[in-house]
Structures are given as structure tokens and as C-alpha cells.
């Protein structure tokens, strides 16, 4: 188990990002561990139930998609899902520019079919070893960013919007910088193996700060009292 994984493991309450409504003070824990994350080792060919090393990683093998999922304290490959083209329609996709570390991607996703579609994973192999589907939730007056249980469900005939402060795609430990105007190819994977590919444009954005560093910086300088 890599220490890095704990940071985004939101079942692990100790590491949950908290933004207190009152004073914009974040309870930041275990900061130093982030920068010292171990390198991710190449996994052997995925098999259902075998161990994997990074939550949110995806692998394609033998016409099937495997997703690295949390199983108790272990990370294991999901069952293989047969690939198909997803009917989901994606537009207005963008990703926050970032030099290194993690960043978020956003999009508007429409389900034109009569059945709900569940998005369970996302992939951008050139830019990140793993992506997670995150939500931002208010709990006990605190805002928490965490992996969304079950992923994103797009109801039949409806549109969901991934946006800062709401559901979003978290790109872990990016392999290269993402610059303004850059086209970042992303693939969504649905529960039935459907895949939809789109390009997200690199955009300068001051918000959507999810790393602890960014948050604590913001809190230190945070001049605005939101209670007023």
C-alpha cells in the first residue's frame, strides 16, 4: 500500500479535506506524505480480484476493461467489462492547467437513452496513471471532497454537469504538465463497458483547489469572510 493512496481514499476520514463554513479553515493532515509518494509500479496483467496499486487506474486487456477498486483495505482489479461504444454525449469539457500533482476535469454529460447510465471510471493514459470520480459533499457543516460511491449516474434523457465545487474527475499524479489550450483526451467508462472519448481543453482556473497545498495556501491568505 502506497502512502499516496491514503490521500484520496475518502473512506479514510482522517484524510478527508474539510472546509469549515465559518472561517474557511481547512483541517489539513499529513501534508508531507503527498510530495513523497512512491512511484507507481507497473502492475502485472489484470485479473479479477488480483491486487492493483492505484485507485481509479484502468487497464484494457483481452477486449475487456479492468478498474482498480478498493476492497476493504486492499486495492483489487474489478471484473473485466466488455468494451462497447457508449451513447453518452460529452461537451464543454475542460481541465484545470497544472504543472504536476493532481488536477480536475469537468464536462457536461448527456444521456440520450431511455435507461440511466452509470459512469464508473475515467482514463487519460497519456496524462495520468489513474483518475477518480469525485464528489463534494456537505457533512456536519464541512465540505468534503471524496470518491463518489458508485460513480456518476446520468439519468435517462438527462444531463449532468461536472463542475468546480461539484462532481468532477480527479486526475491523479499527472505525468506531464497540462497547459492552457492543450487538448487532453479523456475516456469515460460506464458500468456496462461503454466508452466515450472526448478532448478536454486546458484552462487556467484559480478555484477547484483540491490538493492540500493549494487549500492551505488559500486558507492562509484567505481574506474574504464568507459569513458576511
Amino acid at each position: 500500500m502506497l502512502p499516496y493512496l491514503f490521500i484520496h481514499s475518502c473512506e479514510n476520514k482522517e484524510f478527508v479535506v474539510r472546509i469549515r463554513k465559518s472561517g474557511l479553515v481547512a483541517a489539513v493532515v499529513g501534508l508531507l506524505a503527498i510530495g513523497l509518494a512512491n512511484p507507481v509500479h507497473a502492475d502485472p496483467a489484470p485479473r479479477e480480484g488480483s491486487e492493483c496499486s492505484m485507485s481509479g487506474a484502468t487497464r484494457f486487456a483481452k477486449g475487456q476493461t479492468f478498474i482498480c477498486e478498493r476492497d476493504g483495505s486492499q486495492l483489487r482489479w474489478s471484473e473485466g467489462i466488455r468494451r462497447s461504444n457508449s451513447p453518452l454525449e460529452v461537451e464543454d469539457a475542460w481541465v484545470k492547467v497544472m504543472d504536476s500533482g493532481m488536477t480536475s476535469a469537468f464536462a457536461t454529460i448527456t444521456n440520450p437513452t431511455d435507461e440511466p447510465i452509470r459512469i464508473i471510471a475515467a482514463r487519460s493514459a497519456r496524462f495520468t496513471p489513474a483518475m477518480e470520480l469525485h464528489e463534494v459533499k456537505m457533512e456536519d457543516g464541512a465540505m468534503q471532497m471524496q470518491q463518489k460511491p458508485g460513480g456518476f449516474v446520468v439519468p435517462a434523457g438527462e444531463t449532468i454537469i461536472l463542475k468546480p465545487g461539484g462532481d468532477h474527475l480527479m486526475m491523479m499524479k499527472i505525468k506531464q504538465s497540462i497547459t492552457a489550450g492543450e487538448e487532453v483526451p479523456i475516456r469515460l467508462i460506464t458500468a456496462d463497458g461503454g466508452r466515450v472519448k472526448f478532448d478536454a481543453m486546458g484552462r487556467v482556473f484559480a478555484g477547484a483547489n483540491e490538493s492540500y497545498d493549494d487549500l492551505s495556501d488559500g486558507m492562509d491568505q484567505g481574506g474574504m469572510d464568507m459569513d458576511r
Binding site: D92, W94, K96, V97, F106, P164, T179, A180, G181, E182, M201, G202, R203, V204, F205, A206, G207
Partner: protein, 419 residues
């Protein structure tokens, strides 16, 4: 909406509200103004109309609030577009001399422009509500000589895009000179414009810096409604002799030809910042002012004519045998002899406060032409040599840009030039 029985509180969609807001403006003469509030749950709610005193001036921004201009097309917007009331001109420079960065700038601006012009927020728009009233928002994107030089693309510069020389009457300040990129952002709503400008400058902040900004304004007299050309701060009707958008004359005068193919259907803009010496001008009487320009101040008619639209007759003599339009009059010297010599004048007034107690105001003179070698440059040379009007204005800034053609949906301006 005018039916008082339908005035109870009801929820409306944002889109519906926009339409309703536009209709409220149009209906303002009827003395009814629709209010709106945001309910605690965030929903926008229309409230009972409140009778208001009849408005004597209905802002064209109100009339055009929901009007959009297409970003995509054969030509870029903002050239043959009837002049919006407000325009801001920006000169931007690349932070790094990188062709890839130049390409990114064009992608980003094109994407932002397409969305914002359609009345939709830009990607990651921090104030999406400010995108809801496009009011004929347009973006026009230009490329300056420095950009071609620093990206190693001097060989791509068309012959019709030469450097514009300084003229003897100019007193140019480098702070207004040519930059890598040019943006003309225009709208009938100044807040919409300011938002659009902020979004795009912010989106480009890792790629470019802003070298200069020139905000301008003009009278809200839509040229497309048959009104006369706008007046400038000297009271002159300015921009009468313009080619008519859509006419063969306009195509010849403004849009660039077939070669090189990548720039065909574009244009060249010369942006001159012309300071008016208003206090000196004040010393002149009306008749003298009219002689300097060659047009009447009251209705813009050429001297010897009756109305603004009358042709400028340079050969008419008065009783004493002297030309009615004096030999040194501005209109005589600026007069184009052919369609090729014409320029499209799209001037805006600037008013930048005071320098040592003297007002710093004048014109942001944006001239669009297919080939300045046959139009703007000879005309400006004649003006520098002979124009009586030179005494009352000084050009303090000059920049020139190639405006590439428009693009199809899904594409971006000047795609391929830097890749």
C-alpha cells in the same frame, strides 16, 4: 406580460427570463418594467411588474440584449457587423516566443469567443451570469508582425500586410504599437464586454501579457437601422463614406483576395490612436470648422450638399470661383477614387481623463482594408501632406494586424498556421 392578470409571482427559467427582460425593455415605453428576484433556493422568480415613469431613452443595449452574432463563418465578426456601442481594443504579447503557445492562444480565444458571443459562459466561467446578455457581442482576432517574426513565420506574411510607416504628422508612442495579437471585443452592453474581456485575458494569462487596452464608445445609433454615422467628440459625423456590408464594393475594399489561401477572406486593420486637440478646436467658429472638414456640422452633409448621404462633389465652385470644398479640406484629401482605395472606418471615441490639465481624448480609429498599400497608406500620406485638419489632432499610437478569415464550427481562427 402586459396583461395585469398574469402578473402574479411565478417561476421562470433563466432563458425565459432573458427573453422577458428583452421584452421588458422593448415595452418600457409602455411604462411597465418587469422586476426579478432570486429566491432563497436560488431559483429566479419574476415578480409583479412595477409601473415606472415612461423612459425617454431606451438603450439599444436593451433592445439588442438577446441578439447574438455568429462567431463561425466565412469572415470574422466585428468587421461588417454594425458598430456596437462599446468596443475595447487589446494588444497582447506572447510570454514565450513559441509557435505552440501561439496556437493555444488562437484555440482559447476562438473557443471563448464562440461561447460568449452565443450568450453562453466560457469554459470555467467564474461569472456565468454575466454571459447571459450577449447584446451583439463580437470578438475579432488579429495577428501582428512581431508574432510572425518571433515564431519564424515571416514567409507567411502576405504582401498586402506590410508594416505601416510613421507619417510626418504622427507623434507615436510605442506603448500603442503593434503586438503579437489583437483583440477587438465589442458589445452594446459594457458589462458584458468587460466580462468577456476578463474571461479571455484570464484564460490566456499563462500564455500572454496585455501590452495595451483601448476602451472606446460611440453613440448608440445602430447603422443598420438607417441612422446616420456616429459623431465624434468634435461633433463631426464620422464614418459616412463607408462601403456597405454585403455589397461588391465592400468585398473589394475590405476582404482579402485568394492568395495566400490561409488568409483569404480576412482583412487588415490599422488601429490609430488619434488625440484630438479639443481646446484648440474650441477656438474655431462653426463655419471655419466646416471648411476644415468639408462637411456641415449640423447634419453631416458635404459642403454644397443637403444631406449626409449626398455625394462629396469636389468640382463644385462657389460664386467667386473657389471650390466649395476647400483644397485642403479633410474629405477632399481622404476621398477615395475607386473601390480599391476605400477603407472601412470603424472608429470609436476614447476619453482617458486629463494629462497636466489637458483632456486626453480622441478617436480609436480602426480602419479595415483588403490592402493598405492601395488604400490606407496613400490616403494617410495625402492627409499628412495636405490635410488642414492636422492642426487639431495628433496620432499618438499606430498598430496594424492581419485579421485571418473566419472558421467553421469545431475549427479555430488561423488553425494550421502555427502547428
Amino acid at each position: 406580460m402586459s396583461d395585469p392578470d398574469e402578473t402574479q409571482v411565478r417561476k421562470v427559467s433563466r432563458r425565459g427570463l432573458l427573453t422577458a427582460g428583452g421584452a421588458a425593455f422593448a415595452g418600457a415605453a409602455g411604462g411597465i418594467v418587469l422586476g426579478r428576484v432570486t429566491a432563497p433556493d436560488g431559483a429566479v422568480v419574476a415578480v409583479e411588474p412595477t409601473p415606472r415613469p415612461q423612459l425617454s431613452h431606451v438603450s439599444p443595449a436593451g433592445a439588442s440584449a438577446a441578439q447574438t452574432i455568429d462567431f463561425y463563418g466565412v469572415h470574422q465578426a466585428g468587421v461588417d457587423t454594425p458598430e456596437q456601442t462599446y468596443a475595447t481594443f487589446l494588444g497582447l504579447n506572447l510570454i514565450r516566443p513559441s509557435a505552440q503557445d501561439a496556437d493555444s492562444v488562437l484555440r482559447i480565444v476562438s473557443d471563448d469567443a464562440a461561447r460568449l458571443m452565443a450568450g453562453r459562459p466560457s469554459l470555467g466561467d467564474t461569472e456565468p451570469e454575466l454571459a447571459e446578455i450577449p447584446a451583439r457581442l463580437s470578438f475579432t482576432i488579429g495577428l501582428g508582425h512581431p508574432l510572425f517574426e518571433k515564431t519564424g513565420r515571416v514567409d507567411r506574411i502576405p504582401a498586402y500586410f506590410p508594416a505601416i510607416p510613421a507619417f510626418s504628422t504622427d507623434d507615436l508612442d510605442d506603448r500603442w504599437s503593434s503586438t503579437d495579437f489583437y483583440l477587438q471585443i465589442a458589445s452594446d452592453d459594457p458589462l458584458t464586454l468587460a466580462h468577456a474581456q476578463r474571461m479571455v485575458v484570464k484564460a490566456l494569462s499563462t500564455l500572454t501579457t496585455v501590452a495595451w487596452v483601448q476602451p472606446g464608445f460611440r453613440s448608440p445609433t445602430p447603422a443598420n437601422e438607417g441612422g446616420r454615422a456616429s459623431r465624434n467628440l468634435m461633433g463631426q459625423v464620422d464614418g459616412t463614406v463607408n462601403p456597405l456590408p454585403g455589397s461588391p464594393q465592400f468585398d473589394t475594399a475590405v476582404w482579402t483576395g485568394a492568395e495566400p489561401a490561409w488568409a483569404a477572406g480576412g482583412t487588415v486593420v490599422i488601429v490609430r490612436r488619434i488625440r484630438m486637440l479639443l481646446d484648440e478646436w474650441d477656438r474655431m467658429d462653426v463655419a471655419a470648422k466646416e471648411m476644415v472638414i468639408g462637411r456641415r456640422l449640423d447634419n453631416g452633409a458635404p459642403l454644397g450638399g443637403d444631406s449626409e448621404e449626398d455625394p462629396v462633389r469636389l468640382d463644385v465652385l462657389d460664386d467667386s470661383g473657389l471650390p466649395v470644398i476647400p483644397s485642403s479640406a479633410h474629405v477632399r484629401i481622404a476621398h477615395a477614387e475607386s473601390d480599391e482605395e476605400m477603407i472601412l472606418r470603424r472608429p470609436y471615441t476614447y476619453d482617458a481623463g486629463f494629462i497636466d490639465g489637458v483632456q486626453d481624448a480622441g478617436l480609436i480609429f480602426a480602419a479595415y482594408t483588403a490592402d493598405p498599400r492601395r488604400s490606407f497608406i496613400p490616403m494617410q500620406q495625402r492627409l499628412a501632406d495636405k490635410d488642414a485638419f492636422n492642426r487639431w489632432n495628433t496620432t499618438i499610437g499606430s498598430a496594424t494586424y492581419l485579421i485571418p478569415p473566419g472558421c467553421a464550427e469545431g475549427d479555430y481562427i488561423a488553425s494550421g498556421l502555427f502547428t
